[in-house]
């Protein structure tokens, strides 16, 4: 039989329940014939946590309340139910780290959590925890707890995914019960009720553990035992492929030189294809042998409000990717105009393409109105915009955009000849005045 504890005296006050848990843990592991090298004890911060120095197993001693999460990582990484992961945590640690308990139970991570419930924070001087029962006194609660404490066994039993939950009183020999919990695969939890002589007994003279537990309405019983359950298994993929899709490399089909970089901004509304249109422009630029960058801006609620994109195309390497002063601004909707208003006002030249339903702010850019929304519909307004822009400026070859667009699946359902017909139909300032008056 192997030892799990050193010969040195345990580090707790005389009569502290933590002593019994340590001794019973050793006995339980011996009952199961474990090798200490196959056991990892993860301890929390609190009096109970300083036990790690007494154990001959592997030990990991972390932060207050986080031991269950730490053990989750150990257990998920070992991915081997023959390696026993045991967590020692107090009622204090379970209070601050409750999320981790629920989460580990929910996922069924392989571990046994032993809650050392002495109804108070021992290490810091006996302050109450969320587990302190109604009426139970501590040096900081002279009138006793005002609410019932958490029934952690009930709480964890309610979590789908646990394999074993039990509560017991930490007196005499409870190694068999602990061994049962240790033997279960997946997530098991044992709450051991105990007393802190230094603060608990002092504040509640003459009290008996069983009486406290009983009057707190806490049942000493096995809450869940699913017997032979499945162990948690970490997915470790081996058929991994590079993120680089070199087969998608973009060929230079329409070599073009730009004298200087073009910085474009497309501003419209969510759901109206702004980002897709910007990506078509980017790809068309690259197909023309240019370097390109593209970024998108939108509110965190991506489905409503403005949607804006910046595209830079250049024959040279692009370093700075901002466009505070774009050469071309395209605005297809009122949301887009609001977003772009300040930038438009600051433009010192260049071109502003703007939907004829909108009114351009004061700007030094050349303003070009066109009824993108009316002729293309809101959904296609951005696409109409980029085709119109290329048709008018010829900044990069139209063939490049047609090529890139044609490769995309949306091209199949899109009436290109119709679009060109509508884009070629003249549009004059007089027509805009007319619609404005009607509106």
């Amino acid at each position: 039989m192997k030892n799990f504890l050193t010969d040195a005296p345990l580090p707790f006050c005389k009569g502290c329940g933590h002593n019994h848990i340590a001794a019973n843990t050793e006995k339980a592991l011996q009952l199961l014939d474990y090798d200490p090298m196959n056991v990892v004890l993860v301890t929390d911060i609190g009096c109970h946590g300083i036990i790690d120095k007494s154990f001959l197993t592997h030990t990991v001693h972390g932060l207050h309340g986080r031991s269950v999460a730490l053990a989750t990582g150990v257990s998920a990484a070992l991915n081997n139910p023959d390696k026993k992961v045991i967590v020692f945590i107090g009622d204090g640690g379970a209070t601050i780290g409750m999320q981790h308990l629920i989460d580990a139970a929910h996922n069924g991570f392989n571990m046994t959590v032993v809650i050392h419930n002495n109804f108070l924070y021992g290490m810091t001087g006996g302050q109450p925890s969320e587990f302190t029962p109604f009426g139970f006194k501590t040096p900081y609660l002279p009138d006793g707890g005002k609410k019932t404490g958490y029934d952690i066994c009930k709480l964890i039993s309610a979590v789908d995914g646990v394999s074993y939950v039990s509560r017991l009183e930490g007196i005499s020999d409870f190694s068999k019960e602990l061994a049962e919990a240790f033997s279960r695969k997946g997530f098991s939890l044992v709450e051991v009720m105990e007393i802190c002589p230094s603060y608990g007994v002092k504040a509640n003279p003459g009290m008996k553990l069983s009486k406290v537990v009983e009057s707190a309405g806490l049942k000493i019983e096995k809450f869940v035992d699913r017997g032979e359950t499945e162990a948690y298994q970490t997915t470790v993929k081996t058929d991994l492929k590079s993120l680089f899709h070199e087969e998608d490399a973009i060929k230079t089909l329409f070599p073009t030189q730009l004298e200087k970089p073009i910085r474009m901004m497309l501003c419209g509304s969510a759901g109206e294809g702004v980002q897709a249109a910007a990506e078509f422009l980017l790809k068309a630029g690259i197909t023309s042998g240019l370097n390109g960058t593209k970024k998108g801006s939108y509110p965190v609620t991506v489905g409503v409000g403005f949607s804006a994109a910046e595209v830079i195309l250049s024959s040279e390497e692009i370093l700075y990717t901002g466009s505070p002063n774009p050469d071309v601004m395209c605005v297809t909707s009122a949301d887009g105009l609001e977003y772009a208003r300040k930038t438009i006002a600051n433009m010192k030249g260049g071109k502003l393409f703007i939907d004829s339903s909108l009114t351009a702010p004061e700007t030094k850019a050349e303003v070009i109105y066109f009824p993108f929304r009316e002729r293309g519909g809101a959904k296609n307004s951005s696409l109409y915009m980029i085709f119109y822009f290329l048709k008018t400026t010829g900044m990069i070859p139209m063939d490049a955009l047609l090529h890139v667009f044609g490769e995309n699946k949306i091209a199949k359902k899109f009436d290109l000849p119709k679009m060109f017909e509508l884009l070629n139909e003249p549009y004059t300032a007089a027509m805009r005045d007319e619609t404005k008056t009607i509106a």
Partner: protein, 374 residues
Amino acid sequence: MMVADKDSRLIMDGSELIIESVARAGADVFIGYPITPANLLYSYSQERLPSFFAAPDEISTLQWMCGYATTGKFPVTASSFPGFALMLESINMAYMMELPMLIILVQRLGPATGTATCGAQGDLALLQGAISGGFPLPVVSISSMKDCWEMPAKAMKMAIDLRTPVVLLTSKEEIMTLSSFSVKNLPEIKKIERTFYNSTETYMPYKTGTTLVPEFLPVANTEHQVRFTASTHDQKGIIQNTSKEAIDNTKRLEYKHRQNKSEHLFYDYDEQSGADTLVVSYGITSAACREAVNAVRADGHKVSMLIVKTMLPVPPVYFEIMDKYKKVVIAEENLTGQFKNILFGERGNKNVSGVNGIAEMITPARIAEAILSK
């Protein structure tokens, strides 16, 4: 760029390069909680790394990572300030336990939740003071798409060599912007082969030999007992109050990070002979800086440029370089010049000025103006 090279270009973002880099270097797992602007790193990892965990919060994230790391596996995460703030105590734990891992911090505009979709360079001061006691937490940054490829693997190597968490500092625009980029001639990244303690002598988890870094041994191995602890501890990994051995161990954490090993020193120094002015930058502002320097030089002026990547602890060589110049301009996207303050203190230095601002990228024009100003 050659035409032949051109035909190999893809449309990529920096996040893709970062995750491919850590994958090739041998990262075992990504554990994370979603946050803008780090979400692309999260989604690429899900596809590319052997294991992936969606943790329920950022404290869990870092704790799970620490647990993973105790077993000799290499974990990676990515977050932004709100999540990083929750990780802080656990990063201190990883630091004290000496667990290698990579934390990618994607900066966005603060304070607090700030503007999730706006980039920033506002977290360096926090990183400088992240470890209680003022111990240095290694921070490296990226300054280009090429760095998105090279620096993550180098940061991992550093984390393993020094047995420590390393922060890879970046920001929204650097990792979310799409650009035409060829992966064809990128330097190869090889899997980092880790070596573990393999002697029959009793293992002492925090005993060091010829280096300041103790040899690593995974928990749950069947040869030796392994202990990890976040509390002040002796060489055995046993909690101590303030015994000499334990305090020496704690002091070692400072020294091991201050070795300034050349293999962990990354910067680009573009020296122009005859220049009196040096412009310094890092991260997203580096690109604007390069553009400004090109423009200023094209106009016949002389200027040198230092792009720093090993950020913290500050390598002394940066001071040696800066000392050669009459004028130093430090450009970064925050209000007060955090890197400048780390280098020169709140009082500053009369030869050193900053180009600063928030809520938009610093423009090359502003940097050029600062370089040329008398």
